[in-house]
């Protein structure tokens, strides 16, 4: 256990636990775009910056990304100062120019008093803030199908060499974790499209409802030993099936009893 001060309040935390988690536990709202519990933090969006100092720093202070800064004894943390708000506003100003199509970014900007960006909006604005949440989650699930390709301005997230990713299984984890919601996908007529590829969705053998792709099911079978027939029917039909089976047993027991 370590003891720190957050916004003037003495707080205990586990050594090494990232500051952002500790701050949030105090009910303090610090904006964060690239942080997600299922992936390692990477400190790319810079929204979660906080000010830290220590008694023995003689007034010296610095800004750190709280999602990536481990708790340590004696830290004095401040989450909201005019300087920090200014930094966050400037970052959002840039994000607003880059992400004209992201509702979240535009809304966050407004919360910081920006009605529109003071920079020139990227006309073909790609809405991606390069936070790598998608590549990180794909790595966690064991596929690493996508990554950043090209350098500088041309950098984009995609499959290898800018082609559709051969290792993708169409699970949508990347699309759902993306804070700006820019990864396009669709489910249509039993087929899922994402990253320029198409995947067959498993249709329930009884009602036709679809939940996941065949490739995702294959992967779960192999990696987590989920029996293949578990994917044959959908959750709705499974519940009805269970009622029928359990009901049958109840009726049998009643007959035996009477």
């Amino acid at each position: 256990m370590v003891q720190m001060t957050i916004n003037g309040k003495v707080v205990k935390a586990t050594e090494g636990e990232m500051l952002l988690a500790v701050i949030r536990r105090q009910g303090i709202d610090v904006p964060a775009l690239c942080d997600h519990a299922a992936v390692e933090p990477c400190g790319s969006c810079r929204m979660c910056l906080v000010e830290i100092t220590r008694e023995d720093w003689n007034g010296w202070k610095k800004y750190v990304t709280s999602c990536l800064y481990p708790s340590e004894d004696g830290l004095i943390v401040t989450t909201h100062t005019p300087e920090l708000q200014e930094i966050r506003r400037n970052i959002l100003d840039l994000y607003m120019a880059r992400c004209p199509g992201s509702e979240l970014i535009q809304k966050m900007g407004e919360e910081y008093g920006l009605t529109r960006t003071s920079f020139k909006t990227i006309p073909e604005g790609d809405n991606c803030i390069m936070c790598y949440a998608c590549t990180r989650i794909c790595e966690v699930l064991g596929r690493s199908a996508i990554s950043a390709v090209r350098r500088g301005h041309a950098k984009v997230i995609s499959g290898p060499f800018g082609d559709p990713p051969p290792d993708c299984i169409g699970c949508l984890s990347c699309a759902h974790i993306c804070p700006t919601d820019v990864i396009e996908w669709h489910d249509q007529d039993g087929v899922r499209g994402i990253w320029g590829r198409t995947f067959d969705l498993i249709a329930c053998q009884q009602c036709g409802k679809t939940i996941i792709t065949r490739d995702f099911a294959e992967y779960l079978k192999e990696k987590r030993q989920i029996p293949a027939d578990y994917f044959d029917i959908c959750d709705d039909c499974k519940r009805v099936e269970l009622a029928r089976k359990m009901g049958g047993l109840v009726d049998q027991a009643k007959e035996v009893a009477s």
């Binding site: 997600h36 519990a37 299922a38 989650i137 966690v140 699930l141 064991g142 699970c171 949508l172 984890s173 759902h176 974790i177 498993i202 939940i211 996941i212 995702f216 099911a217 779960l220 990696k223 987590r224 030993q225 989920i226 578990y230 994917f231 959908c234 959750d235 709705d236 039909c237 499974k238 519940r239 009805v240 099936e241 269970l242 009622a243 029928r244 359990m246 009901g247 049958g248 109840v250 009726d251 027991a253 009643k254």
Partner: protein, 136 residues
């Protein structure tokens, strides 16, 4: 495990009180959430309240590649950690009983958490078809 949740379909009258209690207990934005329990008719006037059985070797837990589903050792429930869930729906597809559910209104995955140790369904069931009790 210290608690056991039992379903006795022979006592179920299909009144759907459990479903209502569940939906209202798991509320968001003052709107009832999706129920995690469904009394399903398997014959005339015969019902089985279908809900998560908190399996020992649970397919949902195994299927989650992000460790978002974990057993609460005190209540016995397999709980969904919303912060870790990415909505991939592996658990929904994998559960052999169809009890990892999609809440379409909130576009998220939900499952029974035994209400943190005091399941509303069992509390409100008028016939005691649903019972949650301490066993050790």
């Amino acid at each position: 495990m210290m608690f056991r949740y039992t379903v006795n379909p022979a006592l179920c009258t299909g009144c759907r009180t459990c479903e209502l209690a569940c939906a209202f207990t798991h509320t968001q934005e003052q709107k009832p959430g999706r129920s995690r329990i469904y009394p399903i008719a398997y014959g005339p006037d015969r019902f089985v309240p279908v809900t998560c059985l908190q399996c020992d070797d649970a397919a949902c837990v195994k299927s989650c590649l992000f460790d978002a589903l974990k057993r609460n050792e005190t209540t016995g429930a397999i709980e969904l950690d919303k912060d870790r869930c990415v909505n991939c729906r592996a658990c929904v597809a994998a559960c052999p009983f169809g009890c990892a559910l999609i809440d379409d209104v909130h576009d998220e995955v939900v499952k029974c958490d035994l209400c943190g140790g005091s399941p509303a369904c069992a509390r409100f069931c008028p016939t005691k078809a649903l019972v949650y009790k301490r066993i050790a």
